[in-house]
């Protein structure tokens, strides 16, 4: 017997809604748990004071600075490099052996576990290049880790811009590079931003890579050549050795708020950029 399309639709919608509800529910549970457990212990002094007494006392100011610096370095490297790669793949070449190789490399890199990036960064940046445990070593290693995410999302975003936009620009005398910058990139920004935001998220949450390459110094870093501890590492150390669960969750809560602020800023910037481009 054939089921009427309307019935199928009702069943499908129901299933989709259930899936959405459980996915969102699970995620809300995680955030809610951390915020509920952590925000109680967050205060102004917690945000501004140095880490004292193995993390049981004082605040997490050095970890906040460390996190921001690390994100700045890693995204500052990975975003331009990744977007440039995506432009090459989507706009400057056609499918062939070379793109297949590059794409394969990107896919594999996406699957390389973070611990391997950590060991790689430890040997290459910390030891061979002599950068030591530093924000720079950490940022470079993290950049390598988030590169595939940025490339894949940026490439998808570029490809989703209608071909006709490119034709129009070219027929008006745009060079290849102008076609990209004037009639493709502006419309791919939302998608590219998704990738960058996911990349920021991964940089912020990563622990294994950071411990091996940026170290976990408790002092506030004053330059990219100093060792630094990120909030994720701080949480990990506090929770791992069972030092202070309160401060661990408070750190995680601050971490979530930081991501919230970064993401909101990014979205606001994007909307400002896109205003006037969309139909009213």
């Amino acid at each position: 017997m054939r089921i009427a399309p309307r019935t199928t639709q009702a069943i499908a919608k129901g299933l989709l809604l259930t899936a959405t509800a459980s996915a969102v529910g699970a995620l809300v549970f995680v955030v809610g748990f951390v915020l509920a457990g952590g925000l109680r212990h967050v205060s102004w002094s917690f945000l501004t004071e140095p880490i004292l007494d193995m993390g049981r006392a004082g605040g997490i100011f050095p970890a906040i600075v460390g996190t921001l610096l690390m994100v700045l370095v890693s995204v500052g490297i990975a975003a331009p490099l990744g977007i440039a790669s995506a432009i090459y793949l989507a706009e400057y070449t056609r499918e062939g052996r070379l793109t297949q190789t590059i794409r394969f490399g990107i896919n594999c890199l996406a699957g390389v576990p973070s611990i391997i990036f950590g060991l790689f960064g430890f040997i290459l940046f910390v030891n061979i290049l002599g950068l030591g445990w530093s924000v720079l070593s950490g940022g470079l290693s993290l950049a390598a880790m988030i590169l595939p995410t940025v490339i894949r999302t940026a490439e998808e975003a570029l490809r989703s811009v209608p071909t006709s936009y490119r034709d129009v620009a070219a027929s008006l005398g745009a060079t290849r590079w102008q076609v990209v910058t004037k009639s493709v990139l502006p419309y791919a920004i939302p998608g590219i931003l998704t990738g960058v935001i996911l990349g920021i998220g991964r940089s912020i949450e990563e622990t294994a890579v950071v411990i091996f390459t940026a170290g976990s110094a408790v002092q506030t870093p004053t330059s990219v050549f100093d060792s630094a501890r990120t909030m994720a590492v701080h949480f990990y150390i506090l929770a791992r050795e069972g030092i202070s669960n309160e401060n661990a969750y408070a750190t995680a809560a601050v971490l979530i708020c930081t991501i919230l602020i970064i993401n909101t800023t990014a979205y606001t910037l994007m909307h400002r950029l896109m205003r006037g481009r969309r139909a009213a």
Binding site: P5, Q9, A12, K13, L16, A19, T20, S22, A23, A26, L27, V30, V31, V34, L81, A84, S85, Y88, Y92, I102, F104, C108, L109, A110, G111, V112, P113, S114, I115, I116, F117, L119, A144, L147, P148, R152, T153, E156, A157, S160, P162, R176, W177, T194, I197, L198, G201, E205, E206, T207, A232, F235, Y236, A252, L255, I256, I259, L260, N263, T264
Partner: protein, 278 residues
């Protein structure tokens, strides 16, 4: 000038392949000798991992990685894609604008947080309701599925939204229901983007270390059910690297080599599957 730009972009595009090559070179250099010494067969198919006694068999970890990744995908992909479809096609734009950034936010929650929550909530739940030690394949798959959700949902929504509106209108105009339109028109049109999200999510699942260490129990025995504890290849590296020296350390790098091939095969399979299916 266009030539110069083209060259620079090519250089950028090659960087990720170059990084991959560097990483490969470095773990192969450390890992291959021990595999050669103990024999590839013995290394891959050995069931006994006692590095301090010179026993390096990683079969249980290969099985562990496979089970957990598969489990995470089985739970995470339908859930994530369904969530994306619902948000992109059936809910009001206002909800998408709130929920999509909210879900992306979750990509930034440290995996160790997920791990701790898993140990404190999920593992006891599974132990009491379903039996076994709690720290198990099932628990790890659930935690990883939740961790991959932000990647899959977020990228899939982008892919669905990038499908031209005219496709949808065309299909609806032919008398298709909304669901038929989504299933027969939008979904195939967005599949490349959705697949990109799934591959990235899968990469995250295979590559995840810290959370898996906490939640999977890390037993070195071969599992018999989803309620048994396992150790993944990544966990094996991360859990012991801090203390490993000499041959033990080399064996961990060799685990990395196998992991490397493992990821390449999975990627190849995913891409082939994507080509054949549609």
């Amino acid at each position: 000038m266009d030539k110069l730009v083209s060259r620079l972009l090519l250089l950028a595009a090659c960087s990720s392949a170059a990084i991959l090559a560097l990483i490969a070179l470095f773990i192969f250099k450390e890992g291959v000798p021990i595999m050669a010494r103990s024999g590839l067969g013995a290394f891959l198919l050995g069931r006994d991992w006692s590095p301090l006694q010179g026993q390096f068999g990683i079969l249980p970890f290969i099985i562990g990685s496979l089970c957990i990744t598969l489990g995470a995908l089985l739970i995470g992909v339908p859930l994530g894609v369904a969530c994306a479809v619902y948000l992109a096609e059936f809910s009001s734009p206002r909800w998408v604008n709130i929920l999509k950034p909210a879900i992306e936010l979750l990509a930034g929650i440290p995996s160790v947080v997920y791990g701790f929550l898993g140990v404190m909530w999920l593992a006891p739940l599974i132990r009491i309701r379903l039996g076994g030690p709690g720290l198990s394949i099932l628990a790890a798959s659930c935690v990883l599925a939740i961790m991959t959700l932000p990647t899959i949902v977020s990228i899939s929504i982008d892919a669905l939204q990038a499908v031209p509106k005219s496709y949808k209108q065309g299909s609806l105009a032919l008398g298709a229901t909304e669901w038929q339109t989504v299933w027969r028109v939008l979904f195939p049109a967005a599949r490349a983007g959705i697949l990109a999200g799934v591959i990235l999510g899968m990469g995250r699942a295979i590559g995840e270390t810290m959370a898996v260490i906490m939640i999977s129990g890390n037993s070195t025995a071969i599992p018999h059910s989803a309620l048994d504890s396992v150790r993944t290849l990544t966990a094996n590296i991360a859990i012991e690297m801090g203390y490993a020296t000499g041959e033990h350390r080399q064996a961990l790098f060799a685990t990395g080599v196998i992991l490397f091939f493992f990821i390449m095969i999975l990627n190849g399979a995913a891409l082939r599957f994507a080509r054949r299916k549609f």
